[in-house]
Symmetry: C2
Subunit: 245 residues, 2 copies
């Protein structure tokens, strides 16, 4: 226990690695870094506070989940004035789906910060989303709703939420493009390579070739996203061709 405490203490001081890593992810300086430590404390450590209450990230998940729901509700209410209650509810559950939260947590590599007594490869796939929720909870606890909202806009809404795509009007640009290439007997190829550069988070770049000509490039935090982004760009570049034929 005291060893773990010491590790946390050294890594969490203002110049410590954990503090700096959090600041990069959050986009602001944490006020109370211990709130964020809790967001990465697994129950297997059996940590307790002075009063004997269990300390781990599960309570913060509850808080973060509520804040995500509220911020996304506010966003949808404003952005889709024509959507009724049922529509807004459905759109929200797509945005905060387990699958999407897991992607968000994975992209930020949150699992690298977890303090645990069990091997990390024994966590289920939902650990990524759970940590993302806990992080959002810690932000609310540390800095209140305004910062929490800003973080959710920066990390969830702005980069990933595309109402048209959520509505299922466009399921995947990649599949649209592949379909068109096959129909037109054109060859296509996605060349993906790691391109992290100075970023905190791993990045991938992709070149999309059609008939050996590069038609689009893109860069994102996962292979899948980079491919989708490149496909979307190619789709709009080729739109006249694709729609007329």
């Amino acid at each position: 226990m005291s060893v773990i405490r010491n590790i946390l203490n050294s890594r969490s001081s203002k110049g410590g690695n954990f503090f700096i890593a959090m600041q990069k992810i959050l986009g602001f300086k944490p006020k109370n870094i211990t709130h964020y430590e809790k967001a990465f404390t697994h129950r297997s450590l059996n940590q307790k506070d002075k009063l004997g209450n269990a300390v781990n990230f599960e309570r913060l998940e509850f808080l973060g989940d509520a804040m995500l729901s509220a911020v996304i509700a506010g966003y949808l209410f404003k952005t889709v004035p024509g959507g009724n209650e049922g529509y807004l509810t459905k759109m929200r559950s797509k945005i905060v789906s387990r699958k999407h939260l897991n992607e968000l947590g994975k992209d930020l590599n949150l699992i690298s910060f977890v303090q645990t007594n069990i091997p990390k490869d024994q966590f289920g796939v939902n650990i990524h989303g759970n940590l993302f929720e806990a992080l959002v909870g810690a932000i609310y606890w540390d800095r209140g709703y305004k910062y929490c909202k800003r973080f959710i806009y920066e990390r969830v809404i702005n980069p990933y939420v595309d109402i048209e795509q959520l509505e299922g009007k466009v399921i995947s640009y990649k599949s649209l493009l592949i379909e068109w290439c096959q129909k037109k007997k054109k060859s296509f190829n996605f060349e993906v390579y790691e391109d992290t550069g100075n970023d905190e988070v791993k990045h991938f770049a992709v070149k999309l070739r059609i008939d050996d000509r590069v038609v689009a490039k893109a860069r994102a935090t996962s292979k899948k996203k980079a491919e989708e982004k490149a496909s979307k760009r190619a789709y709009y570049a080729l739109q006249t061709h694709i729609e007329n034929e």
Copy 2:
């Protein structure tokens, strides 16, 4: 339609009845009174905005529900440091239960503000809770999270949320007291009378007599609550007797 518009216009101006009534309920001046009008516009009016989007309180219910969940989550997270995720979730659903929201809406007599084309007695019982949620949504829309949170503390948490009672440790002080009176062969009597005074909302006062002696008085927005409040006071006053026997 234009008749309804005119009624709304006259009642919603800064000196209008609706504006004043809202201000009393909210505890602050509305910035944009039309947001609150929407919180009381029933779908039966078939109102549309300039773009043809339906205008009624259902979208605001969605928003208000999310804000209630978030504020109550934040409250429970802080207040019950020993509660795990499951406990916090359970407590929240008790606080924002349909039954409780209906009571809150009823106490504020929100139904009196509804603009509708169908008779109000044809609304189901949940109209009260739905209007309460819509009102919370309108507050968020008009003034943001801070005011929303303050309103929920003033109208929901401070007056009604008693963690011990929610946990089922004490189900009802009234039943505890009655049980004790019966066991001790004491007579008891609740004298209830309306006592609204200058309040916006109807109030009830109650005198609780045991063996013809007034042991507690209370005042609240419903008969049931006034009786419960008086019983709680009597219970604490008589506690030594009750617990020793």
